[in-house]
């Protein structure tokens, strides 16, 4: 060994020493500058209640979530499902894949997702439905009723018959408060207006919806219809009957002849708000979060140019009121029976919107059997 070292000329030894020095610096540098922790990529999961092919709504949610994730540069994992069993499994799978935030889309039953939530206490869950209670779950609700209020106002200005048809699936706080908000908005500008509700008892039933529209127009005399269903059968039915309609959750960007616009949610804004809170770390600090028109999330979209200027003016005025925090359920409000539900100078508090909305406001009527 020494013999070989001796055989190396002097400059060679210096060179070797220098190279060793560089190597040492390099190794030192690698250790010194190597990131001690590799930054964890943030993953967000989305569980859809149907496949995107089967449900247009699921596609809309996916697009919104995708847009929000792109804005925050986080990874998105999506799981579609066909039934409760698959939905449950999807929630478990996402948690296993290291997803930090799981959004449970749709209206899952608490029993479907409770175990996934309790087994993953470090995962943040968000739902759009109330009733699931855990420390790591927050319900994020949209004040769609604000959009209904504006839609009601628009319809009240447009109607000639002062009768507006409302095809609705079934009675629950969400549907009820939106009907009430619609009615309140309508009667704000046209106290003569009657809102006729026709129940279908199903979230999707094209036949029934078409029948209801026909009856609302032919029997009740409605010249404008709107709906609270998962599909858009009402659009076709109304167009077929030559009456105007207001859409729900679906853009009418191509401005069909009979469309008066659509009450929509900007899901990207909705999801962006959720991810923002998640990233900050305080999403679950509050159990129920509302997002509404003041956040830009709710919108009466695609109102056609054919409406009168004054109509538009009034609707915009109302919208500005809402933007400034004017509550819709502000007294005096009476129910269909004439009882004073909210006295003058009073405002219904938010918690009542999701729990005790079991009455209908003055002006709401029901289509008989």
């Amino acid at each position: 060994m020494m013999k070989y070292l001796r055989a190396i000329p002097d400059w060679g030894r210096w060179l070797i020493a220098f190279l060793l020095f560089l190597l040492a610096i390099g190794i030192f540098g690698v250790f010194a500058f190597a990131p001690t922790q590799t930054p964890r990529t943030v993953k967000v999961g989305l569980v859809l209640p149907y496949s995107m092919d089967a449900s247009e709504q699921c596609g809309v949610h996916y697009e919104g979530m995708k847009q929000a994730c792109e804005d925050f540069d986080v990874e998105l994992l999506v799981r579609e499902s066909k039934n409760a069993q698959e939905y449950r499994q999807a929630a478990h799978d996402l948690a296993k894949e290291g997803v930090g935030l799981i959004f449970l889309c749709g209206n899952p039953r608490p029993s479907t997702v409770d175990d996934a939530i309790s087994e993953n206490p470090k995962v943040t869950f968000a739902t759009m439905t109330s009733g699931i209670n855990a420390a790591n779950v927050t319900t994020c609700l949209v004040r769609m009723y604000q959009g209904r209020y504006l839609a009601g106002a628009l319809a009240a200005m447009q109607t000639k018959t002062d009768v507006i048809g409302y095809v609705a699936a079934m009675q629950n706080p969400e549907v009820t408060r939106e009907i009430n908000a619609f009615a309140l908005g309508a009667r704000r500008l046209n106290p003569k207006v009657r809102v006729i509700v026709a129940w279908t008892n199903a979230w999707k039933n094209e036949e029934k919806e078409t029948e209801n529209v026909r009856r609302l127009v032919k029997e009740a005399g409605a010249d404008i219809v709107t709906y609270h269903q998962d599909d858009q059968s009402v659009h076709r039915a109304a167009s077929a009957l030559g009456v105007d309609y207001i859409g729900y959750q679906v853009r009418q960007a191509d401005m069909p002849e009979h469309s008066l616009g659509s009450v929509v949610c900007r899901w990207d804004i909705y999801y962006r708000a959720i991810i923002d809170h998640y990233l900050k770390g305080d999403l679950n600090k509050i159990k129920t979060r509302w997002i509404g028109i003041e956040d830009g999330a709710v919108w009466l979209s695609d109102v056609p140019d054919r409406i009168e200027y004054l109509t538009g003016y009034f609707v915009v005025r109302l919208r500005r009121e809402l933007d400034h925090g004017r509550p819709i359920f502000k007294g005096p409000i009476r129910d269909t029976a004439g009882n004073l539900r909210i006295a003058d100078g009073e405002v219904l508090r938010d918690t009542a919107l999701t729990t005790r909305m079991d009455w209908f406001a003055e002006g709401v009527e029901f289509l008989g059997k």
């Binding site: 770390g281 508090r349 918690t351």
Partner: protein, 860 residues
């Protein structure tokens, strides 16, 4: 030399520079490490402070909740007792409870009761009408908390309360968290933290520092992705951790700072420990460096020593080679001297001449023994010496010794007495020649250094085991003795003691050293007792294996009685029917051998080369062949190998003659197929013994008696003196030195003439052969021929030619020597080409001179 003296200093300088570089490197590393550690520590501290900030935020929220609870009670009470609202407000505002303003607003945000409130500066206040609790901070106003006044699910109004900046800390008690943490509560999106003040506090100064402000801006951006955070900042006001946290249930945010020392003060001890550890490592490194440096120096020293040893070893080898060479050079003339002298002793009867011849013989033998000593020593030195054990008779050894020593002792008038143990076993196993050498050496010394008195020689067994005997040879003399301080040096080489006093005593001083070394090789030892001026006793102890335990008998007596006289040479045998072939390229040597064997009446044929030898062997069956080793063309070994294939030569013993007396030569020759080995100059007794051994026993006859020999010499050639006188009268003989030539030819004129005649006659042939070798660049044969010419010229008295031939011979050898460089060979060849002509001229001249002299002295 200069380099070597500078060496240690330059090394030290080099090491110092390297060490300095190392220290600087370590220093840079240390600075970097400190930076890195500080950075890591601060990062860790930031996390800790951030967590503490989060705790503070929680604490603040809990405080808010407490206050909200109070307000809720008040709101409920108001709902239940609307008419007492004002009292309730007063109680809330009473200094005993809390200070600050409070009031009631309608759901439209209109004033209802209590203090006035600038509603628009509190953006979160509308949330209260949705039934939420509100905590809102407005810069310049303070902290607002508000709760809805409920009627069932409906909100009827808002009960609020406002705390100004001072009250916030006072009432929410957050300053208790840690006295080192300075902080303020602010709106999340708030920008400026501290307004201009006339007498800013220390805290205000910190908050208004630009780098702290930058830090808070960073905190603001970090809070987008965290509930709480902290960063380390260095500012003009000192080192701080800045922290911030958003309160999730309100728009409030905490901002503050804590001095670095308050969080990480103790951690600076880490540096002290790192410094200590680093210093310790540096110290270790220094120690190791010094150690390695020392080791390296030692290694270099031992390198230098090894190189020196290699040099001296090479020198020693060169010395050995030189000695071996010299021995050859010296032995050749001694060969002639002793050979011729032997002839004189045999043939001359005149006592005075015999005495001279005996003197020559003694001197020659002394010279030989010196050369042998030197050779032995060089052999032992070079490790080539081997002890060859064989069976021998102790009696014979002792006889030889005594035969050699007794005459010398008696010559000096010393009493030489033998004391030989009669029970000693006679046949032993060992290297007889070497033991003999040792004993003779000691005895010779005794004779040399004893001017008067006696020498006692004791031989006995000191100890005897089953088949092993420890022989003791004790030599006791009454000589000059050895000084005590010199006794230790005695066995060292080249030591001759008392130089002044012993100047007239000959010897190399190697004898005892050689004896000592030989004994070491044989497992024996030598010791000495001596009293200066009184005498010495040398004791040699030597283990020998017993072969035959027959006692030696009363040997001493027999030998003591035997009167040894310098008798006329008597051949030990005659063999008139035996044919012997002697082969040597040197005619002189042939003459010597023939002369030595004259009295044995052998039929001797001679020839001058291997080729000739083979021719002879084809024609005739010889009883023995004496073959010279170094001959031009075929050398002795080659000749032997070829001869062994001839039918006539089957079973014929070949004895090699050589002047090559270097170590191992004998064994080499015997292994080649020679039966015996005779070194030149040839010892006539050894020659006769060898012949007696190897000649067919039926052809041997007992030698003649002394009288017969004497009778046979009657009428021998004229004595030397007369001839020499005749030679002296001769006219100028040119290069030919008749006197020298006669000396080398044992003073025999007719022999000298024969030699000269042969020299003259052979010249043309030899010269043409030399020329042929020169042209063919056949350096080995050329050198051999010049070697022969050198010897021949010397023997006939042509010193000049001999010298010239010697130079050419050496150059010729150089031309084919393995260890010569190509340059040396070139030079040697050039030398030969330029000098060959001159030498040949000398050769011609000498031959002419010889021829002329021969013609002039033809009749004599």
């Amino acid at each position: 030399m200069e380099n070597e003296t500078n060496h240690p200093y330059s090394s030290i300088l080099k090491v110092a520079v390297e060490f300095l570089v190392l220290v600087v490197g370590l220093g840079v590393c240390a600075i970097f490490m400190q930076h890195k550690i500080t950075h890591l520590l601060n990062m860790t501290m930031e996390q800790i402070v951030a967590r503490q900030t989060e705790d503070m935020a929680h604490l603040a929220e809990n405080q808010f909740r407490r206050e909200l609870v109070v307000l809720h009670y008040a709101a409920e009470y108001m709902q239940a007792n609307p008419d007492r609202s004002e009292d309730i407000l007063k109680s809330i505002n009473s200094p005993a409870a809390h200070s600050g303003s409070a009031g009631v607003l309608s759901v439209e945000g209109k004033y209802v009761l209590g203090a006035k409130l600038p509603v628009h500066v509190f953006p979160r206040l509308p949330s209260a009408i949705r039934g939420e609790d509100v905590v809102d901070f407005a810069y310049g106003q303070g902290l607002l908390i508000a709760v809805p006044i409920l009627s069932g699910d409906n909100v009827r109004g808002i009960l609020w309360r406002l705390y100004d900046d001072k009250l916030v800390q006072q009432h929410f008690g957050l300053s208790d968290y840690n006295s080192s943490f300075h902080f303020v509560l602010m709106a999340r999106e708030g920008q400026a933290i501290v307004p201009y003040k006339k007498n800013p506090s220390e805290k205000d100064l910190v908050f208004s520092d630009p780098s702290v402000q930058r830090g808070f801006a960073e905190i603001r951006s970090r809070l987008d992705r965290a509930l709480s955070t902290a960063i380390y900042t260095e500012s003009a006001q000192g080192r701080f951790f800045l922290f911030g946290a958003d309160l999730p249930e309100s728009n409030c945010s905490l901002r503050g700072f804590v001095p670095w020392e308050a969080v990480a003060g103790d951690i600076s001890r880490i540096y002290i420990w790192i410094l200590r550890a680093g210093s310790f490592l540096l110290f270790l490194l220094a120690v190791i460096s010094v150690h390695l440096f020392t080791v390296q120096l030692k290694a270099e020293e031992s390198d230098a020593l090894r190189r020196e040893k290699e040099v001296s070893d090479r020198a020693s080898q060169a010395k050995s080679a030189f000695l071996a060479n010299m021995s050859h050079e010296i032995r050749t003339p001694i060969n002639s001297i002793l050979g011729m002298n032997e002839m004189i002793l045999r043939e001359v009867e005149k006592p005075s001449i015999r005495e001279y011849a005996q003197s020559i013989s003694r001197a020659g033998e002394a010279l030989l023994s010196i050369i042998n000593d030197i050779l032995d020593f060089s052999k032992i030195e070079s490790g080539k010496f081997e002890i060859v054990e064989s069976e021998y008779q102790l009696s014979r050894l002792l006889k030889n010794v005594v035969a050699m020593i007794r005459p010398r002792a008696e010559e000096k008038g010393l009493d030489f007495t033998l004391h030989i143990d009669e029970d000693l076993p006679n046949v032993l196993m060992g290297d007889m020649m070497r033991i003999q050498q040792i004993v003779i050496n000691i005895l010779t010394n005794a004779v040399k250094y004893t001017p008067v008195g006696e020498i006692n020689f004791f031989v006995f067994n000191e100890r005897k085991e089953e088949n092993r005997i420890y022989l003791a040879f004790v030599v006791n003399d009454t000589g000059i003795g050895i000084k005590e301080e010199d006794q230790k040096k005695l066995f060292q080489e080249f030591e001759r003691l008392d130089q002044e006093k012993n100047r007239n005593i000959e010897g190399t001083g190697l004898g005892l050293a050689i004896s000592h070394m030989l004994l070491n090789l044989m497992g024996g030892q030598i010791s000495l007792k001596s009293v200066y001026g009184e005498g010495s006793t040398f004791t040699v102890m030597l283990p020998q294996t017993i072969v035959e335990d027959s006692p030696i008998g009363n040997l001493a007596e027999r030998m003591n009685e035997a009167a040894v006289q310098t008798a006329q040479y008597v051949p030990s045998f005659t063999a008139p029917t035996a044919d012997v072939l002697v082969v040597d390229d040197n005619e002189m040597n042939l003459l010597v051998v023939k002369g030595l064997l004259k009295e044995t009446k052998l039929r001797i044929d001679t020839c001058l080369s291997g080729t000739e030898c083979l021719e002879r062997l084809k024609d005739k069956t010889y009883d023995l062949v004496l073959l010279d080793h170094m001959m031009p063309g075929m050398d002795g070994v080659e000749t032997l190998h070829k001869a062994m294939t001839l039918p006539n030569a089957k079973g014929v013993p070949f004895v090699v003659l050589t002047a090559n007396a270097i170590a191992g030569a004998k064994e080499a020759f015997l292994s080649q197929g020679f039966v015996a080995y005779l070194s030149k100059p040839i010892n006539s007794r050894l020659l006769e013994e060898t012949l007696m051994t190897y000649l067919p026993q039926d052809k041997l006859q007992p030698g003649p008696t002394a009288e017969e020999v004497a009778r046979a010499h009657q009428g021998a050639p004229a004595p030397l003196e007369e001839n020499a006188a005749g030679g002296a009268q001769a006219p100028d003989t040119g290069d030919l030195d008749i006197e020298q030539g006669m000396k080398y030819n044992g003073g025999m004129l007719d022999m000298y003439k024969t030699v000269l005649g042969m020299f003259v006659k052979l010249r043309p042939e030899k010269q043409s052969q030399m020329m042929a070798h020169l042209v063919a660049e056949n350096w080995p044969d050329y050198a051999t021929m010049l070697h022969a010419l050198k010897s021949t010229a010397m023997v006939i008295g042509g010193q000049k030619l001999s010298d010239a031939a010697k130079e050419l011979e050496l150059a010729g050898k150089c031309c084919y020597a393995e260890d010569s460089s190509s340059e040396e060979k070139e030079e040697a060849a050039w030398f030969i080409r330029s000098q060959h002509g001159r030498t040949m001229t000398l050769y011609n001249k000498l031959a002419n001179d010889a021829e002329r002299w021969l013609n002039e002295n033809h009749d004599t």
